[in-house]
Symmetry: C2
Subunit: 418 residues, 2 copies
């Protein structure tokens, strides 16, 4: 299967070995895990196995696979046209030396990682995809797609607005219409009101399950670790949607019982942290691992891989395709990514999360060279501290070189919260 | 005058001292300068003197001053509504320590400089401006304006497209209409077909003079140094437009005579360089100074402060305001800034310039942390070298720390061209 996809088998084995080791040390070593996490352990052990086989089986049955790098790519539309949307690997360094021939060294780790997985031929999702969707979010990604277009022959770039104006919304609508036509051409399936309604229902169900999980994290003691909840948010991008929804709901059933019996993964009154900032893609678990081994629990992620990506359902009252497309545009246009200016909603959302999840502080996670989030971090920190909410700004990448220094800073911050 | 503007007199004196010293060493020390450069020597000696007094006199007479950071702000519209457009200082480090409390250290020098001049209270243009126009070009500027908005009370932000699509053009048109209304409200003068026609004529004349100057740089030996031609391109942003046009034309008359007599600033067959990349604002003369003291002459600037900013006249055949606005949109929509994706025109333009100016090589000037240009530099270099055009990629900032290293690299590159 791997050779057919054109993967570099040796490099891929190395990657899986590292991934398995890290997963064992970071996830399986946690105490008091919910039993339901067994499903996600299985998913992760088969993330480059059974899940890929499923996708290839779908392809054999005539379905198309669309790979995406961003939460602005509407899964509703993909599903409605008989395509499966998957997130593309970008949480680890790979083939860095080759990547830095194509991208400046001063490029964020997430973008470099996407290139590294392609150049190193180790991402079966990317190789399975019939269409790869880039999007004009930050300058780094926008310009990187120009080069990625020379490495793959199926790149499609979605334009995005920079401000939440009337013109900005019109651009998003036009681009979603263009995406709809592109997916229809790819799959040969015209979207119908019924299929779009079903697409919206499927994605909303997935989001609703995550909302339920998030709400349970308000409890003290926390019934699930931040690492495990992050994992669910990460798998959100890869798994079969219906099975994912069911599995998250199963965990939620278990967590409700834990809450009734005041069973937690950490003791009550453990310092509670909101992580805010850049996305954390698999297997980028460095910072949450540091936080949760330093005496705190993460109770929410204000992140693309987290509430920024999953909050807000798509309005499902539309009858016609256009009404439903308007609802989809309305939903995605609320995403408060730092590429927008101004982006006041994000600060409000962080404050809301602190309150809702009874957090003691915020750790702002910035990927080095990610200009939008690093720049926004400074006013975010200032605003939070003015409201008496402690905030720690972290700037890091995917390497392990700074782990000692980060550990010291995180421990000192948590100490201050206790 | 300075105290009335709220400048920090002591800091401003220090700045002027440094500027004067640098100007003397870099410009006045050049051999065989055209006599017409005397005008620009005077302009530079009075850049924070007479020119500011002129602007303040204009203000007293009821005219408004608009400061801008980008070539996308249409001077035609400002002039037509009885306002003067000036470029805002951003070519030197100032108050860095204070700036880095508001912006990440990993922000490009140009953006930091704009903040430094504001925080340090040393830019009389910024302090004279009735309206400061920011624009959503790169992520760095886009997000920085959010913070600049807390330092000044007259910031207006213009949205810009990221791609040259139909939607992109519609956004630019809508934003230029909004800018027109904003300037009209500021000045209280409604733009008329006559005033807009005059605005277009004034700016076109300025551009045509620069085009004439550029064309004369095709000659061998070069009749003017790259430093002096850059200075003219820099003063383009500050000076009274009509006087600037006349002064550039006077220099051109002189250069034509030089060409007739084969008089140059350097010997014939001197290696000829095109600089391409980020803008070089006053007093950012580091790289051109290094190039021209290392045995080469710069014959063209593919830069905002250069041909990217000045090429293409605005079509002047329109009769109605809307026809003229369409012409303005058409003209600015051609600007091939690296914020656009894709941005193929820029590469073509560089190659055209190499051919037109008989250049031997290209030095790509990238400001550290300027993602759009640094990312585009890699494919630009590759494409040029595939066509047999030598290219040197420089990444630097405004400090003098790397001058030894840059000198070595520039000398080695020029040696290779000889």
């Amino acid at each position: 299967m791997w050779a057919d996809l054109g993967l570099d088998l040796e490099a891929h084995d190395v990657l899986l070995g590292v991934l398995g080791d890290a997963y064992g040390k970071i996830f399986l070593s946690q105490a008091n895990r919910p039993e339901g996490m067994g499903y996600f352990d299985f998913v992760m052990s088969e993330v480059h196995g059974l899940r890929i086989k499923e996708l290839l089986d779908e392809k054999k049955a005539g379905r198309k696979i669309i790979g995406s790098f961003c939460v602005f790519v509407p899964e509703e539309i993909a599903l409605a046209a008989n395509a499966t949307l998957v997130g593309l690997c970008s949480g680890a360094d790979f083939a860095l030396e080759e990547v830095e021939k194509l991208l400046p060294r001063n490029t964020c780790a997430l973008i470099k990682s996407a290139f590294g997985f392609k150049i190193g031929k180790v991402c079966p999702y990317l190789e399975s995809a019939d269409l790869i969707v880039g999007e004009n979010t930050c300058d780094g990604k926008k310009k990187a797609y120009e080069s990625l277009g020379h490495l793959v022959d199926n790149l499609y770039v979605m334009d995005l607005p920079q401000s939440k104006s009337e013109n900005g919304r019109a651009l998003l609508k036009a681009e979603y219409l263009r995406f709809k036509e592109t997916v229809e051409n790819l799959t040969g399936c015209l979207i119908t009101p019924e299929s779009l309604k079903q697409g919206i229902a499927t994605v909303n169900a997935k989001r609703a399950a995550i909302h339920r999980l998030s709400a349970l994290r308000k409890a003290d003691p926390a019934p699930i670790s931040g690492l495990d909840a992050l994992l669910a948010n990460q798998v959100f991008f890869y798994d079969n949607p219906a099975r994912f929804t069911a599995s998250v709901n199963t965990i939620c059933d278990e967590l409700e019982k834990r809450i009734d019996t005041k069973t937690g993964v950490f003791p009550s009154k453990h310092p509670r942290i909101i992580i805010s900032g850049c996305p954390q893609a698999v297997p980028n678990w460095k910072l949450p691992m540091l936080i949760e081994t330093a005496g705190a629990v993460i109770v929410g992620e204000e992140s693309c891989v987290g509430e920024r990506g999953t909050r807000n359902l798509t309005r499902d009252s539309g009858k016609t395709i256009d009404e439903m497309l308007e609802a989809i545009v309305d939903r995605y246009f609320q995403v408060d990514c730092a590429i927008f200016t101004p982006n006041r909603d994000r600060l409000e959302h962080i404050q809301e999360m602190v309150e809702n999840y009874q957090a003691d502080g915020v750790i702002h996670y910035g990927l080095q060279f990610c200009q939008p989030y690093l720049m926004e971090a400074i006013p975010v920190e200032k605003a939070l501290e003015e409201k008496g909410i402690p905030c720690l700004r972290i700037e890091t990448d995917y390497s392990m070189e700074d782990i000692g220094q980060l550990k010291t800073r995180v421990e000192a911050f948590i100490e201050q919260l206790s």
